[in-house]
């Protein structure tokens, strides 16, 4: 109870601090709104990478270092499907860019899920009792994925040029133009937070996952094939990351640095929120996203160009000083 109160106080203090700095940095309410929306946008993207990582770690004790790669692969697949001249050119079959984007996201999710399944089923399964080997394996897989992406799509970063409905529209608030797409990503992120939360709380598979996080052996002794649940959860985690990459691509484009950049931030989110805690990951994503957006604003016109990239780790250190097991983590 006391630790919960400490966590809530810590969240409140961080939020007030970030909003305060954002307000000081802003010249107008519009600027403040942009910082806030940018923070939520980055937070939701982080959540999409970190959610799978957190659930997989909680249930399986596996820290998937390839999670960022699924995000990157998702971005490339979505880009490829949406644009002309790629591996899969659907522009003639599906001329409507809006509908093609939906197909692009679905394709990214399917590819992410398929790669996730292969990694868990054929590589990771034999290493469950060897955590160091798991780390090395998933890190190795991330390197292989990177080389594969370079081989297929070269090292040239791609900017999204094929615009569609929400990607090309803007709305005005407090005299500032906001990209509707950022709002769309924030909405998708929130929808996914709620959907995964409902899945964990209301469905049988969710109950199995929550029970498995506490005591895998007992779940198995109740007649549940935990290995199948592992495969399902791991596949789902990778599919969510690929989904994140796909919805991020229209804004961030597709580049080989996407994976590693998001991976480090996602690790900060998962540890800060409390290893294996879904609620912690959701809250941590928003806090880290906001912190990065505020740091980006603060760094403008100063010599602290590296501030946004070190901010997640600074925040992590601060939280761990107050709550060594993370905001919502247990002490295991």
């Amino acid at each position: 109870m006391r630790s919960q109160r400490t966590s809530l106080i810590a969240i409140f203090v961080i939020l007030i601090f970030l909003l305060g700095v954002a307000l000081i940095n802003s010249n107008s309410l519009g600027d403040f709104g942009i910082t806030l929306l940018s923070g939520l946008f980055q937070g939701m993207l982080l959540f999409l990478v970190a959610a799978g990582m957190s659930i997989v770690f909680g249930l399986m004790d596996v820290l998937n270092m390839a999670q960022g790669s699924y995000f990157m692969v998702g971005a490339y697949v979505a880009f490829d499907v949406q644009h002309t001249g790629g591996l899969i050119d659907l522009t003639n079959i599906i001329p409507d860019p809006n509908f093609r984007f939906v197909v692009a996201v679905l394709a990214a999710v399917l590819v992410g899920a398929a790669f996730g399944y292969v990694l868990e089923r054929f590589l990771l399964r034999s290493l469950y009792s060897r955590p160091i080997f798991q780390l090395v394996l998933t890190f190795g897989v991330s390197l292989v994925a990177l080389e594969l992406v370079k081989f297929i799509w070269t090292t040239t970063p791609y900017s999204w040029t094929e615009l569609f409905g929400v990607r090309e529209s803007f709305f005005e608030l407090f005299g500032q133009r906001f990209s509707t797409y950022r709002l769309f990503v924030v909405g998708m992120g929130i929808a996914l937070i709620v959907a995964i939360g409902l899945l964990l709380q209301r469905s049988r598979i969710g109950i199995i996952i929550r029970a498995g996080v506490e005591d895998r052996e007992m779940v198995q002794a109740l007649g549940i094939h935990v290995r199948s649940v592992f495969t399902l959860v791991f596949t789902l985690g990778c599919a969510i990351a690929a989904f994140g990459g796909a919805v991020a691509a229209p804004f961030l484009g597709a580049s080989t640095t996407l994976g590693s950049g998001f991976l480090l931030q996602a690790i900060a989110v998962v540890v800060l929120g409390g290893m294996g805690s879904y609620a912690g990951t959701a809250v941590g994503s928003v806090l880290v996203g906001l912190a990065i957006a505020v740091a980006q604003d603060t760094a403008i016109g100063t010599s602290f160009a590296a501030l946004p990239s070190i901010t997640p780790m600074l925040l992590l250190v601060l939280v761990l000083l107050v709550r060594p097991s993370g905001l919502f983590g247990n002490s295991r």
Partner: protein, 234 residues
Amino acid sequence: MTPILEVRDIHTFIGQFHILEGVSATVHTGGITVLLGRNGAGKTTTLRSIMGLTPPTRGSILLDGTPIHGKQAHTIAQMGVGYVPEHRAIFRSLTVLENLRLAERKKGDFAHQADFIFELFPDLKRLIELPGGNLSGGQQQMLAVARALVPENRLLLIDEPSEGLAPVIIEQLIAAIQRLSGQVSVLLVEQNFRVASKLGQNYVIIDSGHSALDGRMADLVKDQALIQRYLGVA
């Protein structure tokens, strides 16, 4: 009486350590057999070996004549073996209802058994929405036994149910387990000899990793020298 469980000369290692060096035991259909022995004798490992959680490297385990050694825990559970581990292993973040529902092997298992479970453990009914972690030790123990009763199990493996519980709770548990007798077969590990002698029809004494003695509980109760020698109680 036909045996529902036959454990024949099993050997089990935990890491490098040879914990079970030849354990044999039989549970008759509808009966309660108690595994007795001092601390560290290998009673819990015997239950875990039967359940497939710490699989034996040698020997055989037959459930209704079908070999189950070498099978995974979830398969053994699906064959009708319920496990109530030492320290209960209640899922603390799950409500009592979720703990019970988790044990369903087919939809409707809990609904089918709910009346019987709440008759055995009436307290659980009013605690149904509480998280397992909020229950007292006795309530958790009742939930652990109740959870094993949700699916139609043929055999229950119950490990130290009275450990750390108040005498009044122990009496309730004894009454509940006695009511199960005849409906489901039980292999019970129990350190408390008074509880063991009240519940068991048969016993197996495990000493330093092997089964040293077995027989009818009624005979053991009369033999104080034997009890003193193997169990250190009089």
